[in-house]
């Protein structure tokens, strides 16, 4: 596949992630902050997000598995995950966290467990999508091309 085709595929894929609600404008901001002096900025920040999220989701599983669930702790963990997903533009993960926090407030264990499942699912999906996006970028760079700038219509 020639570079121009790869670039079009990347642009279309990125736009689809926005239209389907996986990523919001905050992700575009991260892309705009990437330049020749910081060529791996987006990958670095998203990698931090992956690392944080893996730990937070593990911690949430453990805390919700306790006989006496500490809902304050659950809320604090979900708040962190909401914050980091919001910071990188992972909109669906953020929205799932917002719903999760409502059930923490109600101290509804069954609903919290369902929310955890939902958050896990949304996280897995966006992680796969982002890894695909980064692979497409690597293919372009590997073929000697450059990553096209995304537009505000994102």
């Amino acid at each position: 596949m020639e570079v121009g085709q790869m670039q079009r595929r990347l642009v279309d894929y990125t736009k689809s992630l926005s239209m389907e609600g996986f990523l919001d404008g905050q992700f575009l901001l991260l892309q705009q902050l990437q330049d020749e002096s910081n060529p791996d900025f987006v990958v670095e920040v998203v990698s931090l997000f992956f690392g944080d999220s893996d730990k937070l989701l593990n911690d949430l599983t453990m805390v919700l598995d306790q006989p006496n669930v500490d809902f304050k702790k659950v809320d604090a963990l979900v708040h962190q995950l909401k914050g980091s997903s919001s910071s990188i533009g992972a909109q669906r993960v953020k929205n799932a966290c917002i719903a999760f926090r409502n059930y923490c407030e109600e101290q509804n264990i069954e609903a919290c467990l369902r929310c955890l499942q939902q958050v896990n699912q949304e996280y897995c999906v966006v992680k796969n999508k982002l890894e695909t996006l980064f692979r497409l970028e690597q293919q372009i760079v590997g073929a000697g091309g450059s990553i096209p700038m995304m537009e505000m219509g994102f």
Partner: protein
């Protein structure tokens, strides 16, 4: 206009105070992108310590919820020390009462996360106009 603003902006210094590494990384880069020299620390105590070491900044971006010393305590402490920097509180928790408590600690402004370029530019214009 962009070039003259950038030249002017290079004289502004900032301190990012946030316990979350993702936010520190993004805010550091946002400020870099605006030509603002900046440092990052991980909690309120480190923010106080860096001022005790003799450093001073035009702008402090202060997260609210941090371990060891939170943003409210750190803001209060910095004001008691006579620090007159523009301190902008940054948080994603936003009940009115919490914002009020944060403001009363000595903030000049409050910004909701996530920070964007336009939110930062609004704050930086305040520094420029106070000049």
């Amino acid at each position: 206009m962009a070039q003259s603003n950038k030249e002017k902006s290079t004289k502004i210094t900032a301190l990012v105070v946030d316990d979350d590494m993702i936010n520190r990384t993004i805010h550091h880069r946002l400020l870099d992108n605006l030509g603002i020299e900046n440092e990052v620390v991980g909690n309120g105590k480190e923010a106080v310590d860096v001022h005790c070491s003799g450093k001073n900044f035009d702008l402090i971006l202060m997260d609210k919820d941090m371990p060891i010393m939170n943003g409210i305590e750190a803001t209060r402490k910095l004001r008691e020390m006579g620090i007159r920097s523009l301190i902008a509180g940054v948080s994603s928790r936003s009940t009115e009462q919490e914002i009020q408590e944060f403001m009363e600690a000595g903030l000049d402004d409050y910004l909701e996360k996530p920070l964007t370029m336009s939110k930062l530019v609004t704050i930086i214009r305040k520094i420029d106009s106070n000049g």
